[in-house]
């Protein structure tokens, strides 16, 4: 099979699927192409799209490929879809989610120890929106649930995989001694 045909097939597959299509699935459908070659073909397609200023490109997200529209076109698409607001996530839920993402698998008690507040509500929101899920139980007294992130999380945050999370920043709080003595007085 020549490259042009393979590219056309990839394009057709991505056009049809509404979920990110894993590289493995593409490879199954194109037995003549190695995974590495498919990667290259996707890159070529993206270069072609960019070159001819297409309205979409292929995004690698949540362990798969997906055709998405250009960022610059968001206002029009948004209006057409009549989505009133970009279903935002509350600050509380984001903090809980951040802890789950970087510390997974982790328990509710561990998250609460970091955030210093009860997280029942924000955890429920995350489970309901399928950004987090129960991944198991911790082998400690009470066998509490362990929480982790989902592919839905990766998809909504535009991450290829969990390794693509931004690096944890260095703490910026300095001179803790001064702060501490102030707090005591």
């Amino acid at each position: 099979m020549d490259e042009t045909q393979a590219k056309r097939i990839i394009e057709a597959l991505l056009f049809v699927f509404s979920q990110p299509l894993p590289l493995k699935r593409v490879a199954e459908l194109l037995p003549d192409c190695a995974s590495q070659q498919i990667r290259q073909l996707v890159e070529q397609l993206n270069t072609e799209y960019a070159g001819s200023r297409r309205a979409f490109h292929i995004q690698e997200v949540a362990g798969g490929y997906q055709l998405v529209t250009d960022q610059a076109l968001a206002p029009w698409v948004k209006r057409a879809l009549q989505s009133p607001k970009p279903d935002s996530v509350s600050v509380a839920a984001l903090e809980t989610l951040a802890i789950i993402a970087y510390r997974q698998p982790t328990t509710k008690a561990e998250i609460e120890a970091i955030r210093g507040v009860d997280i029942t509500a924000s955890l429920d929101t995350l489970l309901e929106r399928q950004f987090a899920r129960i991944v198991g139980r911790k082998e400690s007294p009470g066998r509490p649930f362990l929480y982790g992130t989902t592919t839905e999380f990766l998809r909504h945050f535009g991450l290829k995989s969990i390794e693509a999370l931004p690096r944890m920043p260095e703490p910026t709080i300095k001179e803790p001694d001064a702060v501490a003595s102030d707090a005591k007085s």
Partner: protein
């Protein structure tokens, strides 16, 4: 949401104000809580506000009130509190730094989320042909939460009236046995078939417990052929 405070003494985000107050850098007695409350109430009454975002400043405002209340109490209470929380300063610093890190990444995640929502993929639902074809080969795993919600629906439909229970008419052991037999004979049975609405709530609950027990023993498995299809119980 950035909740801004505009008072004589301080202007800026509410969370910073609370942090500063907690650390004793701002005297809580100089902050007029009445004004803050009024400002907040104005926002509540404003139109088109997101309720979720509206709730966010509440714990912070509550914290301020708690701080002020604590300041009003006589000294002994404060020492009693110290005994309650024997956390070392180092530990406190460590926690503060840890929390601050997570606050920063939470902000990053918010940006990623906003950015990703500028890209639109194909809308789910308009490609019916693509969806069922792919997953049918590998049945989806049904989580405990899915089972619970499916069972919730069944339970709400249970129509048999409630009677006084004399003895234990159904036991989990009995139902486990029944289900085992059923699964041996039929190999696969629809989740909803197990729970006919004529049965009483108690019996339905016992069957559900028996089902969970069988799944725990790995005798039964819950699967879906494709998304949104009926849950199947299989061996």
């Amino acid at each position: 949401m950035k909740y801004e405070v505009d008072a004589d003494l301080y202007e800026g985000s509410l969370s910073l104000l609370v942090e500063l107050t907690k650390l004793g850098l701002i005297d809580v007695f100089l902050i007029k809580l009445v004004d803050l409350t009024k400002q907040y109430l104005l926002q509540v009454k404003a139109e088109g506000v997101d309720l979720n975002q509206l709730a966010e400043p509440l714990p912070l405002l509550g914290m301020l009130i708690a701080l002020k209340a604590r300041g009003l109490l006589p000294q002994p209470t404060a020492s009693a509190e110290d005994e309650e929380v024997p956390i070392s300063l180092e530990e406190l610093e460590r926690r503060l730094r840890e929390y601050e890190q997570f606050k920063t990444v939470a902000q990053l995640l918010a940006e990623l989320h906003a950015l990703q929502h500028q890209h639109f993929g194909r809308q789910p639902g308009d490609t019916p042909a693509a969806e069922p074809a792919a997953p049918s080969q590998t049945p989806l795993d049904v989580s405990l939460a899915d089972l619970m919600s499916a069972f919730g629906k069944v339970l709400s439909k249970a129509s048999a009236p409630v009677y006084e229970v004399r003895s234990e008419p159904w036991t989990v052991e009995m139902k486990v046995q029944e289900l085992r037999v059923l699964l041996t004979v039929k190999h696969q049975v629809r989740f909803l078939e197990l729970f006919t609405p004529e049965k009483s709530k108690l019996e339905l609950v016992v069957i559900f417990l028996a089902l969970l027990e069988l799944m725990r023993q790995r005798v039964a498995r819950a699967i879906q052929e494709h998304m949104f299809s009926d849950i199947l119980i299989t061996t």
